[in-house]
């Protein structure tokens, strides 16, 4: 158990540090969008300079990845300490851009490297992630390997001191703006489908790699198709053992689920409580109750689902005494969060009526347009990171111990 006094004194230090170091020029800027490299996010030179200064300050403290060892660019802190850093940065109206600046680096690649990487690999890759300087993407899904990831066909041929990769990946987040990629590739075509797979790391800036952004229903292009044509991955960048990539990726995907169990960062949906929006658009009776009783019932159910999700996330943290293990609970929380968030966006749209179907232009408030885009992009929540149905497979098999329901290769 952490000493509560020690944590509170740490909180005070963090608060003072944030107040002193968060650049005033960044107040109110869409840092998540800018740091995440979103196409729609625009930033002035002042904001960009402020962001870079803020990144450097955080990186010096090791707060880009506070729980990682100091030697790898972290701060060697416990989860409760890391939570306090996040809370205090949020409380100050600031934002920690480093996780977003690294793509999949802080949330997925780094934790997996810490477990599976050689000393040499950890020394070479982790600092660039913790400091927010190197952005990572992941080459996992393929056109014919989605939920059935192990059926992937991108090949890596052994060329002596390196692997040559050939094949196509899809849904690679931020591939067009990343410096490095972690890719799941087939290294033994004769072995069983999960037994001939390896996990390699490769730089994206090379002739053998081509990326094509995919335009989504929300109008943005966070994902790419990524083509490998004799793309080169050094032997020293094989993560884990040869043909044992399935173990590596299973762990990586657990880290992914863990990172998708909470909120979605800054959201237009949170700029005004949904019931207040409903009172504004729908109207109330003399007692202040919404006049649309059907909507009111569905709204309160959504509020309760949100409360139940938050309480469960909190309870699981408490039970682990502050140490959030990557666990089966992540699948439950990913699905409950997805259900809640998608329903919430649908309710917001319904409440706004025709203002909830605007695409662009002065007929619609910025907030209204933002909500519409979030409604659309949020449809991905039940698809990415293991679909809603895949999470239920995991719960039924790994938590409840029911027999495997899917085909094993």
């Amino acid at each position: 158990m952490q000493n509560a006094n020690e944590l509170e004194s740490f909180r005070g230090d963090v608060r003072a540090w944030v107040a002193e170091n968060f650049p005033a020029s960044l107040q109110g800027a869409d840092l998540a969008g800018i740091a995440g490299g979103e196409s729609g996010a625009k930033a002035s030179d002042t904001v960009r300079a402020g962001l870079e200064a803020w990144r450097q300050k955080l990186a010096e403290k090791g707060w880009g990845a506070p729980t990682w060892p100091v030697e790898y660019g972290g701060a060697g802190l416990t989860d409760p300490h890391a939570n306090i850093i996040g809370e205090e940065i949020h409380r100050a109206g600031a934002y920690n851009p480093i996780p977003h600046m690294t793509g999949m680096g802080v949330t997925m690649v780094g934790p997996t490297l810490l477990e599976y990487g050689s000393e040499e690999q950890k020394a070479r890759h982790l600092k660039g992630i913790a400091s927010g300087e190197i952005r990572w993407c992941l080459g996992l899904s393929e056109p014919n390997a989605g939920s059935d990831l192990a059926s992937l066909s991108t090949k890596a041929d052994d060329r002596g001191d390196y692997f040559a990769l050939n094949g196509q990946k899809i849904w690679t987040s931020g591939a067009n703006i990343s410096q490095w990629c972690g890719a799941l590739v087939r290294t033994d075509t004769d072995a069983g489908k999960r037994d001939g797979i390896s996990f390699v790391l490769l730089p994206m800036q090379q002739d053998g790699v081509e990326t094509r952004p995919i335009r989504l229903i929300s109008g943005i292009s966070p994902f790419c198709e990524t083509y490998f044509t004799d793309a080169r991955a050094e032997k020293g960048d094989l993560l884990g053992n040869l043909n044992d990539g399935w173990s590596v990726v299973k762990r990586l995907l657990q880290h992914e689920r863990q990172s998708q169990t909470g909120g979605r960062g800054v959201s237009m949906l949170d700029s005004e409580p949904l019931h207040v929006k409903a009172q504004r658009f729908v109207g109330t009776d003399d007692n202040g109750a919404l006049i649309d009783k059907d909507l009111r019932q569905r709204l309160v159910r959504n509020y309760m689902d949100g409360a139940a999700h938050r309480l469960t996330a909190q309870r699981i943290t408490d039970e682990a005494s502050g140490r959030v293990e990557v666990s089966a609970a992540a699948s439950i929380l990913k699905n409950s969060n997805t259900r809640f968030a998608q329903q919430k966006a649908e309710l917001a749209l319904e409440i706004m009526g025709s203002q909830g179907i605007g695409w662009s232009g002065d007929d619609f408030a910025e907030e209204e347009l933002g909500i519409v885009r979030e409604w659309l992009s949020g449809k991905a929540m039940s698809i990415y990171g293991g679909s809603y149905e895949v999470q239920n497979n995991i719960i039924s098999k790994n938590v409840l111990g029911l027999p495997e329901t899917t085909q094993k290769g």
């Binding site: 019931h275 409840l400 027999p403």
Partner: protein, 372 residues
Amino acid sequence: MAALTEEQSILKDQATSWVEAELPVQKFRDFRNSNSDGGFDPKAWSAMVDMGWTGILVPETFGGSDLGYLTFGVILEQLGRQLCASPLFASAYVGASAINMGGNDDQKQRWLPGIVDGSEILTLAVDEQPRHQRNAIACKASASDGGFLLSGAKTFVPEGMSATTFVVAARTDAGVIELFLVPANADGVSRTQMDTVDKRDHARVTLTNVVVSGEAHLAGMPSGELYEHLLNRACAGVAMEMLGIGCCSFEMTLDYLKTRKQFGKVIGSFQALGHRAAELYSAQEMARSCAEAGVIAIDNGADDQAAMSALSKAKTGEFLFDMSNQLIQIHGGIGMTDDFDAGFYLKRARALEALYGNQALHRDRYATLLGF
């Protein structure tokens, strides 16, 4: 499971093993089949008294242990798992809460030690119509000669036949709902057993010009507040019992999914059922968080106790409603037979769903409390 103190953990383990050894659902079946009077086995009840469960909410000066609502809730959850019948909840949770919050020192001295040693069985008499509505109280308490004259008719009173004292919700001359302690053997009190699906003790209670002294009035809180607070606390307790019923129903169902074979495989290997189990398990985890948060909010004296109580009853109710139906559905034909226990769980689930307001009522309360 909420983080428990060492003392709470010991009590929980004690309750779990005692319930499994001494009061498994088979005992409830035996009791139902025996057509005995009263709603519970007196020997089991005195064992609960001996284990100190009746004193969990009572201050030490009045013979209790004052361990709080989460502790009591954890016990209720264990009792719910095996559908243990007893007046523990009605008397030592709801009754003791009423006296603690609304009683003066004399009233506490008069009632609390009796609740702890089991010689008094209190129960809240609130409903007057089939659907619980907090304000639908017509029962009257008119001031008379320094005391009160009570008249009205109550229904669906838990442990109503075995109670020694009713905590009656009645309207004063000022039109406010207040609570009055009425001995079951007072002149003008009559009661009749209701035969309900859960085969527990529920009674109709009629009060005809019942005379009580001023000391019967629980006046320790500002006008009308005690009644609201007491119902909020009662709902959080019911939610913990419902959680236990739901969790045990889930475990029975999961067991069956792993053992019942059709088409040459255990039926849990079919994805439709695997996913249904996953959804039910997720709902159970959400319900647990809400139910525990309800009693924890009381212990913490949280500002949002009323909302948390509504959340706990509504979300636990939602889970138990689905779970009890799936308990029958997934067991198929065997689930329909009286020889199997599933029916007991379904029936008790619906009795508790109705008690102190169903899911819809608590969703409505939650929305109102949040301001819409």
